[in-house]
């Protein structure tokens, strides 16, 4: 075997990534409350997990929030990317700069900024405050994703369409959207994962009436005594893995 130092280095990094997760998965099947020692295989923690009603409510909340935020962010972000590409307008560079800054600005600052805003306009913290916040932090990522695809467009298509008498709306629905939907979908998916996974911003703008999964996990992890969390982590990890494998299969089918 040649180049074995490199190979063992790579293996080491992969082990660093995966051993903690594997350990978690193994212990989710351990029939014991605290012990590290193996007390036999059991689905006990999964049963507890699946009968935890609060948890399932928070999962539903997160899904509703993620889908709505991703969809609205995809629309606004998509329109923004298209406008930045097609139109010359006053403040174009400012808009680009603002989106760039929004990506770089620390989550925690955005969280407190929105918290101050919502308390000023007396918006009760809950679904709507979370939705507005999530849309706001997703938009820049949609703009960037869609923009990176749109620059490879052939501008002559638009010229040709215009020469043939197509109006803006027709160009949009007949040319831009069909060409752009993979990028829009990628932006949607990214927004959805960002929304489902966000802890920091949600932590500030969530209210007691609308608990979402990441915050529920956070409070469970902080208390951190029940192996139910191990089961929960295993389930989410399994689902993530499944989604990634599915998306890889879908992507690979295309030439």
């Amino acid at each position: 075997m040649k180049n074995w130092p490199m190979k063992s280095y790579l293996t080491g990094i992969y082990l660093f990534f995966y051993i903690p997760i594997l350990v978690l998965i193994i212990y989710s099947f351990n029939n014991a409350q605290y012990s590290l020692v193996w007390h036999g295989f059991s689905f006990r923690w999964y049963q507890e997990l699946f009968s935890d009603n609060d948890l399932w409510i928070s999962v539903m909340h997160s899904l509703v929030l993620g889908v709505s935020a991703a969809t609205i962010a995809m629309c606004i972000g998509g329109l923004t990317a298209i406008s930045l590409f097609r139109y010359q307008f006053f403040g174009r560079q400012l808009l680009q700069g603002l989106i760039f800054i929004l990506i770089l600005s620390p989550d925690i600052v955005m969280g407190i900024a929105l918290l101050i805003l919502f308390s000023m306009i007396q918006l009760q913290l809950g679904f709507w405050s979370l939705l507005l916040a999530h849309i706001t932090f997703c938009i820049p990522f949609v703009v960037v994703t869609v923009s990176s695809r749109i620059v490879s467009f052939d501008e002559y298509i638009f010229e040709a369409a215009k020469d043939l008498g197509a109006k803006d709306m027709i160009i949009m629905t007949r040319i831009i959207l069909p060409l752009l939907w993979p990028a829009l979908f990628a932006g949607w998916l990214m927004s959805f994962t960002l929304s489902i996974d966000d802890v920091i911003i949600s932590y500030f703008v969530a209210g007691p009436d609308f608990e979402i999964l990441p915050l529920k996990i956070y409070s469970m992890v902080r208390l951190g005594v029940k192996p139910e969390i191990n089961a929960l982590c295993t389930v989410t990890f399994g689902l993530t893995l499944l989604l990634i494998i599915l998306s890889q299969l879908v992507l690979r089918k295309k030439p």
């Binding site: 280095y9 790579l10 990094i13 992969y14 660093f16 990534f17 995966y18 051993i19 903690p20 997760i21 350990v23 978690l24 212990y27 590290l36 606004i76 329109l79 923004t80 406008s83 097609r86 139109y87 808009l95 603002l98 770089l104 600005s105 620390p106 989550d107 925690i108 600052v109 407190i112 900024a113 929105l114 918290l115 101050i116 805003l117 308390s119 000023m120 916040a133 849309i135 706001t136 938009i139 109006k167 803006d168 709306m169 994962t193 996974d197 802890v199 920091i200 932590y203 500030f204 990441p214 996990i217 992890v221 951190g224 982590c233 989410t236 993530t240 893995l241 989604l243 990634i244 890889q248």
Partner: protein, 284 residues
């Protein structure tokens, strides 16, 4: 343009500008304003305007937390770079048919909830956890190692969470590297070190930069990692701001900390950006 119908344009631009002004510019202005006012038990924010919040920051505790945060985030970035660069380089230059699979295996932790990965680290690090048990079993140590709730644990947790953010930009950057440049350098008699220093390193600078930014920025503010792994002693900026807002209920002070923090980050990014641009100019 013969018939320019501006409806769509006005609508698109109207929506995005309105959104950004209301939910991005206005809130950030409000934070700045909030940092100049006072508070009492009944009001989160109230007049009179004051500089007190900023003056209060000139206190050894806060200065220490600022320094500590920048230090930990910087160290974390450095460790991620040192671990991630050779890794990304090896993967990017690989000609194996398993290459895309290997890349997929770096993306998977990237897509997994960061809270869950932090929790898995607790299992590894706790006194009777895996690392301690293995070390005791092999006889390296005689009693459980107090790893959890230390700064080391915070560092391990940060690196564990953020390493993929360093590797992925480096990977895309190194993959685009032109092999002919490396061959040319070697043909002209440069040794491995010189080739790396003069050719590979400058050309992968953009990847190093974006990777470092992606690691450094979150490292300062992921408050739940110090919270879960560091215990009560490790307070970083993220925890401090979170504390002022949600526990101490001192919004003006929390805002002042955020403003100073944002300004420092801005200055740092500007210096970084300027210097890296100069590097590439020197190269041309």
């Amino acid at each position: 343009m013969k018939h320019h119908d501006a409806g769509l344009k006005i609508f698109s631009l109207g929506v995005i500008w309105l959104w950004l002004i209301v939910f991005a510019l206005l809130p950030f202005c409000l934070v700045t304003l909030a940092s100049f006012v006072s508070h009492d038990n009944a009001h989160l924010l109230m007049l009179p305007a004051t500089l007190q919040n900023y003056l209060q920051l000139n206190n050894s505790i806060y200065v220490k937390i600022f320094k500590q945060s920048f230090y930990i985030a910087g160290m974390c970035t450095l460790i991620c770079l040192l671990l991630g660069y050779p890794f990304a380089y090896a993967i990017a230059r690989m000609k194996s048919r398993y290459k895309s699979l290997l890349i997929l295996f770096i993306i998977i932790p990237f897509w997994t909830s960061s809270l869950i990965r932090t929790y898995s680290m607790i299992t590894m690090l706790k006194p009777k956890g895996i690392i301690s048990s293995i070390l005791m079993w092999t006889g390296v140590i005689s009693k459980p190692l107090p790893l959890l709730f230390t700064d080391t644990a915070v560092m391990i947790g940060l690196v564990y969470n953020l390493l993929p953010f360093m590797i992925l930009p480096l990977l895309t950057n190194i993959e685009r590297l032109d092999n002919r440049l490396i061959d040319a350098a070697r043909d002209l008699g440069a040794n491995r070190l010189t080739t790396f220093r003069k050719i590979i390193l400058p050309l992968t600078m953009p990847g190093i930069m974006s990777g470092s930014i992606l690691v450094f920025l979150p490292a300062m503010t992921i408050f739940y990692i110090p919270d879960l792994l560091g215990g009560s002693k490790s307070i970083l900026l993220g925890n401090l701001i979170q504390n002022q807002f949600l526990i101490a209920q001192n919004w003006p002070l929390g805002s002042a900390i955020s403003v100073v923090f944002t300004l420092l980050l801005g200055i740092l990014l500007l210096i970084y950006w300027r210097s890296s641009r100069k590097d590439t100019q020197d190269l041309l």
